[in-house]
């Protein structure tokens, strides 16, 4: 059977594909990293859902370069809420990244319970586009489900940022990633996603991050290995 015939067979609605990612694609905002978008269900961060991001090196593991392009998109129309960030979000840098500080809200609750409450409230509010929560300690399934439901009702993008690498602890959140720094940039492991699991890490370079922020998508960025060479050449 040739390829064209195979494609026409696969397009038949009765054919179910094992990787599951081709099904009803959720509405997403692209992460602006080609290599990552290719692996995320729906091609980006899903709306109305909470994504868990594990920071392999703690603060500065690459969470900001990873999220900034998407946050810039979201902040054009809606608010970005930061809950208990580990350090001061430096306004000039966020502005450079295309996120208007006037669209940012910084909450510093006194405890984990209050943080979870604030995150749920913000997620539930349609005016808040993205809600980023730096939540320490253990979060039980019930709290995760509450956040997920709140994100769904507010149609917002939730990000739960926690220290650690691949957690053995299961979580009901549909998308879990871990990010860590490498020499060239960052390495993203997709720990859990809807559909086929992905074992190989996605490598992102600083070059790609610059392009992503600028909204450019040069051909060289398309393939991870190629862009890695490119950035080595420019540095």
């Amino acid at each position: 059977m040739n390829d064209a015939a195979l494609v026409s067979v696969l397009q038949h609605p009765a054919v179910w594909r094992g990787d599951g990612r081709m099904g009803a694609a959720p509405a997403t905002v692209p992460s602006a990293f080609r290599a990552l978008d290719a692996q995320l269900p729906g091609g980006g961060w899903a709306v109305g859902s909470v994504t868990e991001l594990l920071l392999g090196n703690g603060t500065g593991s690459g969470e900001l370069p990873l999220l900034w392009p998407a946050l810039g998109q979201i902040a054009r129309a809606r608010e970005v809420v930061l809950i208990a960030p580990p350090q001061v979000p430096y306004a000039p840098a966020w502005q450079q990244a295309g996120i208007d500080p006037g669209r940012m809200l910084w909450l510093q609750p006194a405890s984990v319970t209050e943080s979870l409450w604030a995150m749920e409230q913000a997620l539930r509010e349609p005016a808040c586009g993205a809600v980023l929560g730096w939540i320490q300690g253990f979060i039980d399934d019930r709290a995760c489900r509450r956040l997920q439901l709140a994100a769904k009702s507010g149609q917002s993008y939730g990000f739960l940022l926690r220290p650690g690498r691949g957690h053995p602890v299961p979580s009901p959140l549909p998308l879990r990633l871990s990010v860590a720094t490498t020499d060239e940039g960052w390495q993203v492991h997709i720990l859990k996603r809807r559909g086929l699991p992905l074992t190989a890490p996605v490598c992102l370079t600083r070059q790609e991050a610059r392009y992503a922020l600028a909204g450019l998508a040069p051909a060289v960025v398309a393939a991870g290995s190629l862009s890695a060479t490119a950035s080595r050449l420019t540095h």
């Binding site: 603060t59 979000p89 430096y90 306004a91 500080p101 910084w106 005016a127």
Partner: protein
Amino acid sequence: MLADTLAAGLGIKPGMKLSAAFALANELDIFVRKPDAEAQRLGVLAAWALQFTPTVVIDAAHTLLLEIGGCIKYFGGLARLRELISTGLKQFGLTVTSGIAPTPLAAAWRAACNRPKAVMADKDIAWALAELPLAVLPVPDTTLDGLAQLGMHTLQEVMALPRAGLKRRFGTDLPLLLDQALGLAADPRDPFTPPDRFEYAVDLDYPVETLDGFGMVGQWLFEALETFLSGRGLGVQEVLLRLKHEDLPPSELTVRFGVPGRRASEFTSILQERLERYELAAPAFTVTLIAAHLHQLDGMPLGLFGHEAGNANFQLLLARLSARLGEGAVRAVATVSDHRPELAWRMAQPGEQSTPLPVGERPGWLLAQPERLSLRNERPWYGETLTMEGWPERIESGWWDDSPIARDYYTARGPSGRRYWIWYDHSQHDWWLHGIF
């Protein structure tokens, strides 16, 4: 003493002694009249009634006089205006009788006798008052007794008497009253001027001991506040709840709202969040709501179906968040045009605009307190050896004020790949960590 229908059925009559009434039915609920609370409520209703007419008079004997002659057309006819007023009052759970007449006294008397038919022309007043009983006259009991002895039962009979004789027999008050009611003599009144602050106290028969109970009292007070504000197109942004305890000094609770508003339901939801962090010092006997500053709320249409979407909801979220997390926990950042990195940002109110700064690459995270770095093998160390990348950015500024700096900023990288923003201080000759990329 007054009795409702059920009590009257058991033989209890107005004017009976309490002990005699209990002898007839020992399960009586006795409600003591609170004149202060009544006056307070009437003041709120007068403020509410200002939405219909600018001239509202608080008359004695629980009567509000509204001068509606000038505004009937605006509200689309008398029937419609009456309906607006009576449905509004019904929502407050009040039983109201009304009367309409060209003079205040005639209107008040007809209302007191529950004659709702409107009297519109001056010539009809005499006819409209004719069959009212003498008891409506605000005169001393001796005068009423005197009239009764003369065989008078209705106003018509009194009005028919010559005024000179009445004056000789009962003093000047009675004939003047009659003339005022008929529109023959002037009857000037002081219109109600609403206070520029709102204060409302509830004395509780049973002290509130729980936060739930307190929340209920708060809701009730907010409803009174909404009534007061809605008449005048006003809103409040901050209210104070003062609780009086038996043997402790009064405690106070300030509740702030994001934007001026007047919806009792929104206030109540914010109060509920605020109460999460509040503890009653002791059972409270009196709860007072004080709104010291009233804001104009004109030009801000309130949603037809409750909440309107968009910004108003976000402001409400901000108010809820700061009520529960505390004022300082809800903040935003803004840029400041200054070369010194630690002064290039500031805390701001949510929504404040920032101007982009023409600066080089800056880290997303800034340490609130720069951290001094130790040296290992002559290289700065922060959990790992830091290697400088590229050329430094020299920032030398602030010589004109108290915090001059002379620094070389580097982007540094550790073996883990993490990138830091560090500076070499030219005056102290040491390394500092200022930010994390």
